[in-house]
Symmetry: C2
Subunit: 154 residues, 2 copies
Amino acid sequence: MTKARASPRPELERAERIADRLHSAAIHLLRRLRKEDTRTGLSAPRLSALSVVVFGGPLTLGALAAAEQVRPPTMTRLVDALERLGLVTRRPDPEDGRQILIEATPKGKAVMMAGRARRVASLARAVARLESKEKETIERAADILERLAARVRE
Amino acid sequence: MTKARASPRPELERAERIADRLHSAAIHLLRRLRKEDTRTGLSAPRLSALSVVVFGGPLTLGALAAAEQVRPPTMTRLVDALERLGLVTRRPDPEDGRQILIEATPKGKAVMMAGRARRVASLARAVARLESKEKETIERAADILERLAARVRE
DNA sequence: ACAATTCGTTAGCTGTGCTAATTATTATCG
DNA sequence: CGATAATAATTAGCACAGCTAACGAATTGT
């Protein structure tokens, strides 16, 4: 705030304009990538949950539900489906009989990697076609967006 | 860049790394913003369809379905719901009896604007807290992301 | 004029999200 | 130690969103 006289409004409006476009861009981007995900034979929520299990090691159902920002009953059914498909296993937690530990099977890891590769590849091809200056911009932007997401409150 | 000797692989890997992080950032961002949307009393698909109707003037059901990348039966039910809520109207196309024209009511416009304002505002508050250099980066990134989304093929 | 196409709807399925209630286990406290 | 409270996962039952297939009404083309 230096010389700007009627400062608050224009600055907020600019932030709103940016916010609006970011929102729209994020929607369009994910809409395209979701189609790639379906080729794993897994829906988006299942693939996403599997991803957490694969990379996040064995974890309890509650922890997985929290990570996926979903209620436990929803996660119970997602895990049911993944277990039927032989992608994860349930096993009792040796230290707490109320909990279960969910872990990825080798098949689960393989499916996950293949799916991720496909999805990322289609976006990566588009990214690779950008000018190198643009590439730098969105590389920095990716970081900023993560921090932004974490800070969006209420 | 420049001095890289084994060029093709590293360049692709870099694109993949960027793609992966963009994907993740977009997911997290939208996950947060979706919560804001629910405060309109409308689900995300309904709000999104309403947005197209409000800003895209009267349009046919087929056109709306295409815009939302959804099949006609799905759109029929979304429009049913929006119509029951008094947010849009159906009226026959005077030039083609097979088609209908969907238009936003004043109430629909008001709800849309209020919802958009809330959603954008929460993101805008986070954006406004960024350093001005970061703001510039994501402003440029928003454009690039849109073009990126349009170019993701296959 | 009649056959083919197009548009929207209906019917019926799968999947994902929720809350409320149940069951089993662990923690707490008197 | 034992009764009670709290916690973890599940089950039951609801709403909504996506799909394909099938259908009726209207338009287009020959």
